[in-house]
């Protein structure tokens, strides 16, 4: 579903969130009945420290146009330091992706606490808006579909 009836590009975004802060925050967005865009689908992890960087690349390869990563604010990690380790991992990862020309502007990093239901809605809407403006991540999808590029298959 890349385009709806109005020909507006509807990006597909996967959100990788920790269970204790952002997942709970997104629950609060729900209990507060704050509306946001439908483009983001949430995957729950125990902690941001658990989020494997390869899963981000897999999301892009699978056709995601954008990614949200969110967890507990510094010092609030349910496991004390998972978010600190994750933060370091992302620092190195971002630099590397950027150097290789992978579009890090399509990855939104955020801290959303269990109390920040409204912030979650903002993060989602903001990211959807930004990715919509950027358009589909065609070049990455194309690279991922290397085998399918060959027109050598008949039924």
């Amino acid at each position: 579903m890349e385009e709806n009836n109005n020909n507006i590009f509807e990006p597909r975004i996967i959100a990788f969130v920790c269970n204790w802060c952002t997942y709970a925050g997104a629950d609060l967005t729900g209990t507060s009945r704050i509306k946001y865009a439908t483009n983001v689908e949430i995957v729950r992890f125990p902690c941001t420290g658990r989020i494997d960087f390869m899963l981000l690349l897999k999301a892009f390869a699978g056709g995601a146009d954008g990614i949200i990563i969110s967890g507990c604010h510094p010092n609030d990690c349910h496991y004390t330091s998972g978010n600190f380790h994750a933060r370091r991992r992302w620092m190195v990862f971002r630099d590397m992706l950027d150097f290789m020309g992978i579009d890090i502007e399509r990855i939104r990093w955020s801290w959303v606490s269990a109390a920040e239901g409204a912030k979650w809605a903002d993060v989602v809407n903001d990211t959807v808006g930004k990715i919509r403006e950027m358009g589909p991540y065609t070049e990455y999808k194309k690279a991922a579909k290397f085998l399918e590029e060959e027109k050598i298959i008949h039924e």
């Binding site: 390869m54 690349l57 150097f99 020309g101 070049e139 690279a143």
Partner: protein, 260 residues
């Protein structure tokens, strides 16, 4: 017989070590040599051309066995030994680490001595590598993507980069994990890139910068640029790192301007 050969032969004949790993003259440039008997040691040489990172053999059980071995390595071998020791991969008791400095053969008595040597003998950075990094840095993002996609599309996944790296000692590499299949095992532009991204992430803060990954690549792909750039970024971001891995430690005050 050179001083080096003599020293090595003595270590073997006295029974201090059962094997000496060093360099010998190969087809066009020096290559790794394994001396088991004093007379083998005549082949040993040491010069600026001796670039193989011999530490790669120190984690291979089938090569070093249970016995004490000596290694006559270059700067990067020493640096790698320090890192391997941090990572519990070698038994220093069973290792005699040596290098050649001018006419002298230095035998290291401890990790501290090796560290001191490493701190005071840093080789000049490879200007060519730096120039390529600068060139890539100046590109636009899509140019960078095109550059790497085109370069890494040539990769045939022979894993010479992995095999030549002394710190790629895993019994099972992430590329060999198939539940789930993190990286598709066949050569294809994206899986080739993913392999290199994994390699770099796994090396972050650990890479000693010997450049053997790039030297091993039969296709001359610029993969050494990636590890070098990662090293530079880490130095910029974290101001260097002492204890081995930047990714297994953290600082509460790490910059997080990208997290909004």
């Amino acid at each position: 017989m050179s001083k080096l050969s003599e020293k090595a032969a003595t270590l073997l004949s006295e029974g201090t070590v059962k094997m000496i790993i060093g360099y010998e003259q190969g087809t066009e440039r020096p290559r790794p040599a394994f001396c088991h008997k004093p007379e083998d040691c005549e082949r040993l040489i040491f010069n600026d051309q001796c670039s193989n990172n011999l530490a790669v053999y120190l984690t291979k059980k089938e090569i070093i066995g249970e016995d004490k071995v000596g290694v006559v390595g270059n700067y990067y071998v020493i640096k790698t030994v320090i890192q391997l020791n941090r990572e519990n991969q070698i038994n220093l008791q069973n290792l005699v680490v040596m290098t050649v400095d001018g006419d002298d053969i230095i035998t290291f008595g401890s990790i501290d001595e090796m560290q001191q040597y490493v701190d005071t003998h840093e080789p000049v950075p490879n200007e060519k590598v730096l120039a390529v990094i600068e060139k890539i840095d100046k590109m636009s993002r899509s140019e960078r993507w095109d550059y790497w996609k085109s370069e890494l599309s040539k990769c045939v996944r022979c894993y010479a980069c992995r095999a030549a790296c002394p710190l790629c000692y895993c019994n099972r590499c992430v590329t060999e994990v198939n539940c789930p299949q993190w990286i598709e095992p066949w050569a294809a532009p994206l899986s080739n890139m993913e392999w290199q991204i994994n390699r770099v992430m796994h090396m972050s803060g650990r890479c000693v910068g010997c450049g053997e990954c790039a030297a091993a690549c039969p296709l001359e792909l610029p993969i050494g640029i990636l590890t070098k750039k990662m090293g530079m970024d880490i130095k910029n971001t974290f101001g260097g790192w002492k204890d081995g891995s930047v990714l297994s430690t953290y600082n509460v005050n790490d910059k997080e301007n990208f997290i909004k």
